[in-house]
Symmetry: C2
Subunit: 337 residues, 2 copies
C-alpha cells in the first residue's frame, strides 16, 4: 500500500466515522425532542411550533399569546397505582394517627388504615375521602403544609419503580416543556391536583413557577399572628379543577385561551376542546395514552386511578388531537433526577 | 479679540452648554423614575431595588422571587369620583335600559337612572349594587363582556379630566412598573376590581399580561356550543379581592409571598402586612396618598369612592411603609397615552 492509498484509507475511515458517530450525535444535539421516536406524533408537535413561531407567516402567533397548558397526573408524571397526592394523603393519615392516637377512633381513618378504600368512596360526594383530604390538607398554615409535602417527598418511594415520586417525571414531556419555552411559550400546569401540593415542587421539577400552576384550590384565611402573617388552609369554596372546571380555571387564573393543550384522560376533554375548537389561532391538542405495561402502565379504562380515557379518545380523530402512544412514540420514559 | 480668544470663548460656551443642557438630559435619561421628585420616597424605592438585585449581597433576592404587587384603583389610576368599573357598570345599565326597555321597570335600575346611589347601597350586602353588578357582569359570555368593556372604554370620558379612562394612568407608577421589570421583577395587579374587567386593558395599558392580574372573580361555566366553546359569566362563588382577601388572593393566584407591595387604601393594609411583616426576604411597602386636589384629588377619608386611608396610614411608620405624597413626590401625574 503506497502513501496515497494509506491516506485514502484514513480519509474514508474518517468520513465513515463522521457518518456513523458524529453526524447522528449532531442530529441528536439539534433535536429538541430526543426521547421521542420519529413519527407522526413528534412531527405534529414540531410542525406546530415551527408554524406559530415563523414571523410573517399567516400562522404566526405573537409570543404573549403562546400559552401551553399541561395536565399533571398521567401527563407529566404517572397516576398509578394512585395519584401521587392521594399517596401523600394516605401516608399523612398514618403519620398523623401515630402523632395523635385519638385519630385512630375516627371511622374513616380506621377504614383507610385497614385499606378499605371502597368505604372512603361511598356516597355521592365521597364523604370519607373528603374527610381524609380535610384532615391532611386543611387546618394548618400554608407554610406548614409546604413542609409536610417536602418531608413526604423526601422519604416516600413509588411502589412499582422504587424511586422518589418527584424523580418519576416523563422525560419526553420535560423535553416538550423546554422546547416550548425555548420558542417563547409560557407553560402552565392545569391539573385536578391541589395547587398548593403541586407548587411545592413545580418550579424545581418542571421549571414551572408557582404562579403558572392552576389546580384544585380552596380558600385560605389570613391572620396576623404575633409571629407574623399566616394563611390558614380551609376546605371552603373548593374549586375542583377537572373536566368543565379546567376551561373555567384557565379563564379564572390565566385569562387567555391556550393554543397548545396536553392531557391524557377524559378529565382533560373540555380543556382540549377549549384550546382547539374554533380557536381563531392555530392550535394543538395532544393526548398522552398509557400503552406501555412494561415500562410504565397500560390502561384506558381499567386504571385504578382516575385516568379513564374513553370520550376524549373517541373524539380525537374528528378534533385533530394527536394521540401519543407511550410505548411507540417514546424511546425513554423517565427523566434522570 | 484674537483667534485664540475666540476659540476659548467657543470652548467655554460648549462647556456651559454641556453643563446646562446635555448633562441634565443625560442624568434624566439615566433616571428610571424621572416623574418622581428627588426625596425620601424615590430614594426608598431605588435603594430597595438596588439592594435586592445586587448579587453577592446578603439582601440579594433571586429573580423568580422578585414578586411585586400593585393595587389598581387609586394606585395605578384614579378612583374618583367613583371606581372606573362602577362608571362602566352605570353606563352599561343606561345602555341596556335603552336596548331592553323592560329593564326600566326594575326598581334598582330606576334608582340608578335617577342617580339615587344611596338606595343601591342599602342593606348589609348592598343588594341593589350587587343586582346592578349582576346585570352588567354576568349572564353573558366572557368574549361578549370583553367587547362591552372595550366599547365603553373607547367612548367614555372621565368627568373631571375629559379624557378616556385608560389615558389616566399615573406616569410615576408606570415608571415604577417598568423600572421593576427592567430589574427582573414580575409585576402583578392585585385589586378589588374585577379580573375580567382589568384584563381587557392591563397588557396594553400597563404591560401586565392577563395571567398577572388578580382581582375579584366569580365562577364561569363552560359550554360547547355549535359555534364553539364559550364561558358564561355568573355571580357564583364570588371572591372579593379586598382587605384580608388580598393576601388570600395572592396565595391562590400567585402562590408566592411578594417582596414589594404598592397600595393606597385600607383595602391594601393586609397585603402590605403580608408582604412586609417578618418576611425572611427584604421587602418594600408603599402607600400612594392622594394629596393633590389640583392635579388629581385630595382625600384620606372623604373620598366618594372606596379609597379610605386611615388604618394603613396609622400603621405606616411602625411598619416602615413609605408614604408617597402625590403633590410633593410626583412632578407629573398622568401618562401620555
Amino acid at each position: 500500500m503506497d502513501f496515497s492509498d494509506k491516506r485514502h484509507a484514513v480519509l474514508v475511515s474518517l468520513f465513515l466515522l463522521f457518518l456513523v458517530v458524529l453526524l447522528p450525535a449532531q442530529a441528536r444535539a439539534d433535536d429538541p425532542l430526543p426521547s421521542w421516536n420519529d413519527g407522526p406524533s413528534k412531527q405534529a408537535i414540531v410542525s406546530f411550533v415551527e408554524k406559530v413561531t415563523k414571523e410573517g407567516s399567516p400562522d404566526f402567533v405573537v409570543a404573549p399569546e403562546r400559552i401551553a397548558v399541561f395536565d399533571n397526573d398521567g401527563c407529566l408524571w404517572p397516576e398509578n397505582p394512585m395519584p401521587f397526592q392521594a399517596a401523600f394523603a394516605f401516608d399523612e393519615v398514618k403519620r398523623l394517627a401515630e402523632e395523635k392516637p385519638v385519630l385512630k377512633e375516627d371511622p374513616m381513618v380506621q377504614a383507610l388504615l385497614a385499606g378499605d378504600i371502597g368505604k372512603l368512596l361511598e356516597g355521592q360526594h365521597h364523604d370519607g375521602l373528603m374527610h381524609i383530604i380535610a384532615l391532611t390538607h386543611a387546618g394548618m398554615t400554608t407554610e406548614e403544609f409546604t413542609k409536610r409535602v417536602e418531608g413526604w417527598m423526601t422519604g416516600a418511594e413509588h411502589p412499582k419503580f422504587g424511586k422518589a415520586y418527584d424523580e418519576l417525571t416523563y422525560q419526553p414531556m420535560q423535553e416538550v416543556l423546554s422546547y416550548l419555552r425555548a420558542n417563547g411559550f409560557k407553560t402552565f400546569i392545569v391539573s385536578g391536583g391541589g395547587a398548593d401540593f403541586m407548587r411545592v415542587f413545580s418550579e424545581r421539577v418542571y421549571g414551572i413557577p408557582p404562579e403558572q400552576v392552576v389546580g384544585t384550590t380552596a380558600r385560605v384565611t389570613y391572620e396576623l399572628r404575633e409571629t407574623g402573617p399566616v394563611l390558614v388552609k380551609t376546605m371552603d369554596n373548593l374549586f375542583i379543577d377537572d373536566k368543565a372546571g379546567k376551561p373555567a380555571g384557565i379563564h379564572q387564573f390565566i385569562g387567555r385561551r391556550p393554543i397548545a393543550v396536553f392531557g391524557n384522560s377524559d378529565g382533560d376533554k373540555q380543556m382540549l376542546e377549549y384550546g382547539t375548537i374554533n380557536n381563531p389561532k392555530p392550535s394543538l391538542g395532544v393526548i398522552v395514552r398509557h400503552t406501555d405495561a412494561e415500562r410504565e402502565y397500560q390502561y384506558d379504562v381499567n386504571s385504578k386511578s382516575s385516568g379513564t380515557l374513553v370520550e376524549a379518545l373517541k373524539d380525537a380523530p374528528a378534533r385533530g388531537w394527536v394521540v401519543v402512544s407511550m410505548k411507540d412514540d417514546w424511546n425513554r420514559i423517565f427523566s434522570e433526577p
